[in-house]
């Protein structure tokens, strides 16, 4: 593939070294986003700082809101008025936004929320963690709704998946979350951007203060039980469509893998190295990296479970995504879990050690282990 062309054939810019948090803002502006409302929090603050510099220069709005509660409701207002809009925060701030995300899902408003995850619960710490997986993929706010959730593994994907989040969010008229972590947000890598800015699709449903939209109404209230039931049913028809069409993942060395590692975000980078170390030591390891966490690549995981001897999920949490993996696998093969949290990230070597140890525990895999020892 020509590296100067993106997936859809757009010409791409010269690479530039950027933090993931900066890259997300560049991706957003090229996706036609024109407002950023947010409240500072480590490790997400560079998003607001970069937005403060670049949004006004691009004819957009940057506003430091009085709280994350206000910020998410500003997104609600901007989106209702037809503008592509975004915010960014980390755990404590994202929790405050959940009411607003539920309202936006109910009112079918597109918006993009970047969560640069840190350690929790409570104030926790600012190290990288993935403890907000449940909050992101299971709803997080009240009511029967889903958010589209994308998990970048690099600054490049912070740009690309933020841009994709805008497209999906408009397409499904639903909030989209970019679920990053402290390391993906803070690290720098070369980033290349499309050279043509996107034109957002029309939003005929918006309330714009123009004659054509005078009869439009943005609301999430439906007093009549039957009306609300059919409204939510229609949301779920939409979610089913997303489940069929929007699953994205990346695979590495799975074809002959006996152990398939599963991880997203920064963890998937650690795992990719672990696969190399495993293979050098004679263990046939592979990697599945979910790119969309919702919809989740359940089907693919079920297929892999049929072929591989075992799966191992690695997360920066006490075990959240692993529940979805186990649902998908439905006992077809053993699913191991390795978790670190509190800001700690397992090294690739630690992952390999864990694989070896678990293989030892299973007599059936003795011969493989012999290679390593």
């Amino acid at each position: 593939m020509n590296p100067t062309l993106s997936e859809n054939g757009d010409r791409r810019s010269q690479e530039r070294l950027m933090k993931g948090n900066e890259a997300a803002i560049y991706g957003a502006l090229m996706a036609g986003c024109r407002s950023f409302y947010g409240y500072p929090i480590t490790p997400a603050s560079e998003l607001a700082e970069t937005a403060a510099r670049l949004f006004p220069a691009c004819g957009g709005t940057f506003l430091q809101a009085e709280s994350e509660v206000a910020a998410i409701n500003m997104l609600y207002g901007a989106s209702s008025a037809g503008e592509r809009t975004m915010t960014a925060s980390s755990g404590p701030g994202i929790s405050l936004m959940m009411e607003g995300v539920s309202y936006a899902a109910g009112a079918e408003l597109p918006m993009v929320i970047v969560n640069v995850m840190r350690g929790g619960p409570g104030l926790g710490n600012i190290g990288p963690e993935q403890g907000d997986y449940f909050q992101a993929v299971k709803g997080g706010g009240h009511g029967c709704y889903r958010s589209l959730v994308l998990a970048p593994d690099s600054p490049q994907e912070m740009a690309d998946l933020t841009a994709l989040a805008f497209e999906l969010s408009d397409q499904y008229r639903n909030p989209a979350l970019v679920l990053a972590d402290g390391f993906v947000g803070q690290m720098m890598e070369p980033v290349s951007l499309p050279l043509a800015a996107r034109v957002p699709p029309p939003r005929p449903w918006a309330v714009t203060g123009l004659p054509a939209t005078r009869r439009n109404l943005i609301t999430s209230i439906h007093l009549d039980h039957d009306v609300l039931e059919s409204h939510v049913r229609q949301l779920h028809v939409k979610y089913e469509r997303a489940r069929r069409r929007e699953v994205r993942y990346e695979e590495y060395a799975v074809a002959d893998a006996r152990v398939v590692l599963i991880g997203y975000g920064i963890v998937s980078r650690v795992l990719r190295r672990a696969v190399g170390l495993c293979r050098a030591a004679g263990i046939k390891a592979g990697l599945l990296r979910p790119i969309t966490l919702w919809p989740f690549p359940s089907q693919r995981i079920a297929e892999l479970a049929r072929g591989a001897a075992r799966l191992m999920v690695v997360e920066l949490s006490t075990g959240q995504m692993v529940e979805d993996v186990r649902l998908a696998v439905a006992e077809r093969c053993p699913v191991d879990f390795l978790g670190r949290w509190g800001g700690n990230v397992p090294s690739s070597e630690e992952v390999v050690d864990s694989i070896v140890q678990r293989m030892r525990e299973r007599t059936g895999d003795e011969e493989h282990v012999a290679h390593v020892a």
Binding site: L17, A57, C58, S80, T208, R215, I221, S347
Partner: protein, 489 residues
């Protein structure tokens, strides 16, 4: 309500098709203030000819369904958040007329922060604040504006200052801010008061049309059902009792005040942003097409540079005190590496750890795409103080390269397992002009020893930093001093 139906404004729907149940009567109770205010708003919208431009923000409260009645664009907001929603709608659509409509629970309790800050920013909005001293929609609980002694379902013995605090005077509270253009309190209750309310509402809308900034009208309003009174008694109660705690009047009116408040911060541009065409965005962001960029440097030069295999694909840790330029060194390595054609990554320590005085980063230069950006087993360590050397030396693999400041760490731990270069980087930097460039001295020693980067790549990386020429020269001077340092292989 009958008065309203007799003389229906054009922007008041004749039949309420969005409403469940009887579409010819409103959902408000007889004698409720909301219906009267709706009517005044509709009249003003008609008279100013702005029906097509209005974005009406509906609150949570009895008026959540204002959109049943007003023939304009509507956004229904979460409880208390209407000012935040309105702020962004107005900024997205500066030519619209955004009317934010809120009850006392909505505005003064749960939404206290949003209204305070929208007012303080001087958002060019019209806020209509219905103060009925109670939570109507949820069945008559205490509001922040409930009068002392007033019985509600959550103050069964009457509101007591000792346990519930005093009624909140919103206009006076916001009156201490510099930004609001106009703050006024009016009351509904008799023909004269109603007309004054009507006038104040019109003025608050006109202010926005004229770009004057934040205008709020607090309307003391009857809630006969919540108060358990007849409509006639409730009207009397507003005038005879509520006005004692909430005196009607103009708290602030910028256009009418001599040398009054500061003009709304948003007056100048009227919230309008200069339009930027889509085509201009890449340039504003400084994006360059690949063809136009020429570093004058051969990429992927590792074969020709004659790098020893053990120095290829370095996985680097750099550590020291904050202020020693450790993170900067890391970004230079990454940027220079990128310019020289390596795949690169840089991962910093961040947050309080840095403020606490130590910093470290992970840098990888690799021929293949970088897998994990975390350096767990380092092949290179830069250590600028003893704690860093002690902490990270165990992570260096056997035969790895350790570059440390021998001036600051005169008595290093056992380094026989690795190749160590101790150089007095800080002292050398001091001689070159500033101890701050010790990081560049160490970098110079590294590239001289390993040839991983040509000097030109570091020069290019320094140029990309946008330093003043003086600082850039100092950095280069230090780099070269480090390169001249004779490291015993």
């Amino acid at each position: 309500m009958s008065r309203m139906l007799l003389e229906r404004p054009r922007s008041f729907y004749p039949v309420f098709t969005r409403k469940e149940g009887d579409p010819t009567v409103t959902h408000y109770c007889p004698g409720c203030g909301h219906g009267i205010v709706h009517k005044y708003v509709a009249e003003a919208i008609d008279d100013f000819g702005i029906a097509d431009r209005v974005i009406f923000v509906n609150p949570v409260g009895c008026s959540v369904f204002a959109y049943y009645y007003l023939d304009v664009g509507h956004i229904q907001a979460a409880h208390g958040r209407a000012p935040a929603v309105a702020t962004a709608a107005k900024r997205a659509r500066p030519d619209s007329i955004v009317i934010c409509y809120q009850g006392d629970g909505d505005l003064a309790a749960i939404g206290g922060n949003e209204i305070l800050h929208a007012a303080n920013r001087g958002e060019n909005l019209t806020v209509l604040f219905i103060n009925n001293a109670i939570y109507g929609m949820t069945g008559g609980q205490m509001a922040p504006t409930t009068l002392l002694g007033q019985v509600t379902t959550t103050t069964p013995l009457g509101r007591s200052a000792a346990t519930d605090g005093y009624p909140v005077r919103v206009c006076e509270l916001l009156g201490s801010l510099s930004a609001p253009a106009s703050l006024a309190r009016v009351a509904l209750g008799d023909a004269k008061r109603d007309m004054a309310a009507r006038k104040a509402i019109r003025r608050a809308i006109r202010n926005q049309i004229e770009g004057k900034g934040f205008s709020l009208v607090e309307i003391l309003s009857p809630c006969p059902v919540g108060w358990k009174q007849t409509p006639a008694d409730a009207a009397k109660h507003v005038l005879a009792t509520m006005t004692k705690t909430f005196p009607p009047g103009v708290v602030k009116d910028f256009p009418a005040q001599e040398g009054g408040a500061a003009p709304s911060p948003q007056d100048a541009a009227g919230g309008r942003r200069p339009p930027v065409p889509r085509e201009a965005i890449p340039e504003i962001l400084g994006l360059q097409s690949p063809a136009t960029v020429d570093h004058g440097m051969e990429t992927k030069p590792w074969s020709r540079l004659g790098i020893e295999p053990r120095f290829l694909d370095p996985r680097i840790k750099a550590a020291g005190f904050g202020g020693q330029g450790v993170l900067f060194l890391g970004t230079l390595l990454a940027e220079a590496g990128r310019l020289a054609g390596w795949s690169v990554s840089w991962l910093p320590s961040y947050g309080p750890e840095m403020r606490g005085g130590t910093a470290h980063c992970h840098v990888i230069l690799s021929r293949a795409p970088v897998d994990s950006p975390l350096v767990s087993r380092a092949s290179v360590l830069f250590a600028f103080n003893r704690p860093s050397l002690d902490r990270f030396l165990p992570d260096v693999r056997d035969g790895g390269l350790v570059i440390f400041d021998s001036g600051l760490v005169p008595d290093p731990p056992d380094l026989s397992r690795v190749e160590a270069i101790g150089l007095p980087a800080t002292a050398i930097a001091g001689k070159a002009g500033s101890v701050k460039v010790a990081n560049l001295v160490a970098l110079g020693a590294y590239i001289e020893r390993t040839r991983v980067l040509p000097e030109a790549a570091v020069v290019g990386a320094l140029a990309a930093k946008g330093l003043s020429s003086q600082v850039a020269d100092l950095n280069l001077e230090a780099l070269r001093a480090g390169m001249r340092f004779r490291c015993a292989p």
